[in-house]
């Protein structure tokens, strides 16, 4: 029995196992069904809800639990033609909207009463160049309460308490 040859074969086997193990660990994990993810300032990632009407029902329940009057402003995100439930702005931070299919990323910085697009993967960057929309200036802006990233299909709207109540009532 040739020890060297046997050793070589076993070594080859171990190498293959090591490679498989490495590849399996480094393989990017499949994101769940949703292709659009919003990461809130707390670092929590939620997949934006799919069109499934059932899922939206759960979401309505969430709204009922929100204490009315605590947040002063809400961030309403629309991606393509899907409108997502408004995020109450109770602390400052960044919201990240990533759309896997388009390879598009938009980052929104919010404070308790304002929002602006801090970065975007789009070519024209018009959305980033917009000044922040605040509860104070939104009436006077030409675009109103909106910041639009047209290439990525992302629309941001700052809602005040009345508008939010209107929106919630319309659900």
């Amino acid at each position: 029995m040739d020890r060297k040859r046997n050793g070589l074969v076993i070594l080859a086997l171990l190498l293959i196992i090591a490679i498989i193990t490495g590849v399996s660990l480094l393989w990017p994990k499949e994101r769940r069904n949703s292709a659009i993810t919003v990461t809130d300032p707390g670092g929590q990632s939620t997949d934006l809800l799919p069109d499934d009407p059932e899922e939206n029902e759960d979401d309505r329940v969430e709204f009922a639990e929100l204490e009315p009057g605590e947040p002063r402003a809400w961030l309403l995100i629309t991606v393509d033609d899907k409108v997502y439930p408004p995020y109450p702005l109770i602390r400052s931070g960044h919201y990240t909207v990533s759309q896997k299919k388009k390879n598009a990323v938009n980052v929104i910085y919010v404070t308790e009463d304002s929002m602006r697009m801090t970065s975007s993967s789009c070519d024209d960057q018009l959305c980033v160049r917009e000044d922040a929309v605040t509860l104070d200036n939104k009436a006077g802006r030409s675009e109103g309460s909106l910041i639009v990233c047209q290439p990525n299909g992302v629309t941001l709207e700052l809602l005040d308490a009345d508008e939010y109540a209107e929106w919630a009532a319309g659900q």
């Binding site: 171990l14 498989i20 393989w27 990017p28």
Partner: protein, 180 residues
Amino acid sequence: MSKTKGNLGYRVALGGLLVAMMLILGYVETLLQGLIPMPVPGIKLGISNGVLLFALYLMDIRSTVILMVLKVLLSGLLFGNPMTMLFAFCGGALSLIGMIPLSRVKGLNIVTVSMVGAVLHNVGQIIAAMFVMTEVSPAILLRYLAILMVAALITGAATGILAREVIKRLRHTVKRKMGR
């Protein structure tokens, strides 16, 4: 090709015996699986590989391939479903593809060859699983494969040692009967 070498009648009888052995041993394996706790389901002892090694070393290549196909068919019909047949075939085929040339290489210990066969068997099964079970992500299958392969090294060595001992004691009888 192989019909001219040695005693056909003896080869057929031996082949039948070996297939029956593989079926029985496979069944016993499934009984034992529930007893020993495993981190991961599906780790098998794979004694069938040992029997195939016996055929590989003491008979000719064509018979070994036929034995593998028969085993997959029969154990699939008896104990499993067409799905397990597909996995078993892919695993067995890849394993033989590795074992056949290696068994002819001079100086390679049968235990080593058995380990290669066991590992390749798992690789073949997982590759088949990747195509069939599309809902499972490849990442999960690959991690499963890594664990299976480590277990395969151990079971392959055990099966190899078993095969070696059986071959050592029976080779003269078989060779005589085969007419070589």
